[in-house]
């Protein structure tokens, strides 16, 4: 047994990366939940890949990602205007030798209809990301794969 203090040097990367990634994700979903399509797409690398649903082609690059968010807003959201909230949790962070960071986490979407306090929940998802650490220290999503629990 060593005390917690003695082992603190063992994980400087995690200490640093974990809160940064949590903060990055919070900002990313804020854009998504407000349909700021361009701003959301800009949290991906220029050639970022968003494999958002089994059976659908992955979204390739910022332009495709922004178009998908805008399209969702113009169709599904326009027909049924709910406030979506994306919740991520149980985050695992795995720094890679090439400087990227692989993450895995659970995600859940909450949908609140005007006047109805109880949100509709789902789907529950398992998400895998590869994050790129930019020259300015900022994070970008290079790759994201979402697997919805009810479609497995």
């Amino acid at each position: 047994m060593t005390s917690p203090a003695e082992v603190s040097a063992a994980t400087p990367l995690l200490t640093e990366l974990y809160p940064r990634i949590q903060q990055f994700y919070a900002g990313q979903v804020r854009h998504l939940d407000a349909f700021r399509a361009e701003e959301f797409a800009a949290t991906f690398t220029e050639d970022g890949v968003f494999d958002h649903r089994p059976g659908a082609d992955p979204l390739l690059g910022r332009q495709a990602i922004a178009a998908a968010v805008s399209g969702y807003q113009r169709t599904k959201h326009a027909a049924d205007p709910v406030q979506r909230r994306h919740w991520f949790n149980m985050l695992q962070v795995f720094p890679q030798d090439d400087g990227t960071v692989r993450t895995e986490y659970y995600a859940l979407v909450l949908h609140t209809r005007p006047g109805t306090p109880e949100p509709q929940t789902g789907p529950s998802c398992f998400v895998t990301d590869v994050l790129e650490v930019g020259e300015d220290g900022g994070l970008l999503t290079k790759f994201r794969r979402v697997r919805q629990d009810h479609l497995v």
Copy 2:
């Protein structure tokens, strides 16, 4: 591209503040969910403002905040005794030049009735706080604004 290690010096404040704020919020909601009115109010500054609901006057100061918690317990909770659990998530932390810290996060309330395993959920909220960092290093909520998604 820089490695994660090389950029670690860029965000010492976030590295330090993020877990502290998460721990602070966990303790704060523990008081609220147990109806410890005075202890909950003491997590606000003496003149803290709690703008808890659109259409209602904000609660001004610890005494008003404690009275609101006690009043809720004596009325709504007494009539329908549920175990509430406040969940916060997707936290963003923005240190300010004046030493305060602005935060933004999602919140969801779970209500469990005795004998019923599935909690009622909601409302889903978006919360903005201003936190004060005290002389002892402890955090206090100076201002909180809660916006419920179904009332927007």
Copy 3:
């Protein structure tokens, strides 16, 4: 008032421990939600105690913990195959003088049935752990007590 930077030295343990414990829990529930019984049990100390439900005997040691997970999989899960996701939140971390770390947190289980996007939620729980910090710096659960909100 001191600035956040000036107080950052006050909580090195929390800064270090908080993200490590979050990452540890994420890996632990990944094993549980995939029914990797041996791997889940190995996140407890050899003589770990898992007091998982009022009215039932606590599980004593890794073998009993692994057997309980396997038994659940062979009976309840075989009869009704849902994808479970354990969500932990509102974590409090309390380093102890003996080098262990006491934690308290909320937990919620999501159950997704094939083809049904909306998960069933519950129970909502309050959990208390004692974590041991191993010689390799890794964490192990020495003791866990789960209190389900609907059984209180």
